[in-house]
């Protein structure tokens, strides 16, 4: 078994356990960042007013760095 096959997959049928979903977070982030690097959160939306009020001028909490997932 190679290291890649150890990443838990979110299946079509049934459910993924919370532990497996957590375990797959870093791999999913890495796959995402291969094709869309950085934060791709929208810069603006109709919810800006309430979001920026709640999150100190940002549109949400900062994302956890990949290394800490």
């Amino acid at each position: 078994m190679n290291s890649k096959s150890k990443v838990p997959c979110i299946p079509i049928e049934g459910s993924i356990s919370w532990a497996d979903w957590l375990k797959g977070r870093r791999a999913r982030r890495e796959s995402s960042k291969l094709v869309a690097p950085g934060v791709i959160r929208r810069k603006t939306s109709s919810s800006d007013r309430r979001l920026k009020k709640l999150f100190n001028g940002e549109r949400g909490l900062p994302f956890t760095p990949t290394g800490k997932l």
């Binding site: 890649k4 977070r25 999913r28 796959s31 995402s32 291969l34 949400g60 909490l61």
Partner: protein
């Protein structure tokens, strides 16, 4: 759900500083509470994409829809969300340091099941990635080019091509041919572009 369990869950979610965990846990708690009243909720939009991809896309609002036909009356919604010290309503609430928007009945054309995460406070349903992918590809060009929508489609394709989420590619093809989307060429092109970047064969590309 017992009051103490709700209180403990709420404290956990309020303290959570990882936006994706916070969102998933809140969706889990709300889903469990609503299900006790016969209504199944499903995570949609950017929050769904985030739970499936970790793509660093979602903002601080969680979008959910009801998957069951019936919706709860406003008084009952107020009662349930009151258990969570939610402010606002009857469709938008501020809870545990984020926002929850309940958008109405879910719009999904996919025949595959909702994806399911056995989250800490109850099962969490997520809109099918097949539908999310085809919809984001549509959003990436139909009102002019949107790089954000295109990036979302690319992260979904990448995570699926690397088999970290199971995607039914036949269903993607069927959805993209529906009158609601009619964007198969664009889907084929985007998935091929991502597959080429990853040096993987595209499952949508004809041999």
């Amino acid at each position: 759900m017992e009051t103490k369990k709700i209180r403990d869950a709420l404290a956990d979610i309020t303290a959570e500083q990882d936006p994706t965990l916070k969102s998933a846990k809140l969706a889990s708690l709300c889903s469990a509470l609503w299900l006790e009243h016969g209504v199944e909720l499903v995570v949609v939009g950017g929050s769904a994409i985030e739970i499936l991809t970790e793509g660093a896309y979602a903002s601080g609002d969680l979008d959910m829809c009801h998957a069951t036909g019936a919706m709860l009356p406003m008084t009952q919604r107020k009662e349930i969300m009151g258990l969570l010290d939610a402010k606002g309503g009857p469709r938008n609430w501020q809870i545990a340091g984020m926002y929850l928007d309940l958008l109405g009945p879910v719009e999904s054309f996919a025949r595959t099941p909702y994806r399911r995460v056995a989250a800490p406070y109850g099962n969490l349903l997520v809109l099918q990635p097949e539908d999310l992918l085809v919809e984001r590809v549509l959003c990436s060009f139909y009102l002019g080019e949107s790089k954000t929508a295109r990036d979302c489609a690319k992260v979904l394709a990448s995570v699926a091509l690397r088999k970290e989420i199971e995607m039914n590619w036949d269903e993607v093809r069927r959805l993209a041919n529906l009158p609601e989307y009619r964007n198969l060429p664009q889907c084929v092109q985007l998935v091929k572009e991502v597959a080429d970047e990853l040096k993987i064969k595209s499952p949508l590309h004809p041999d």
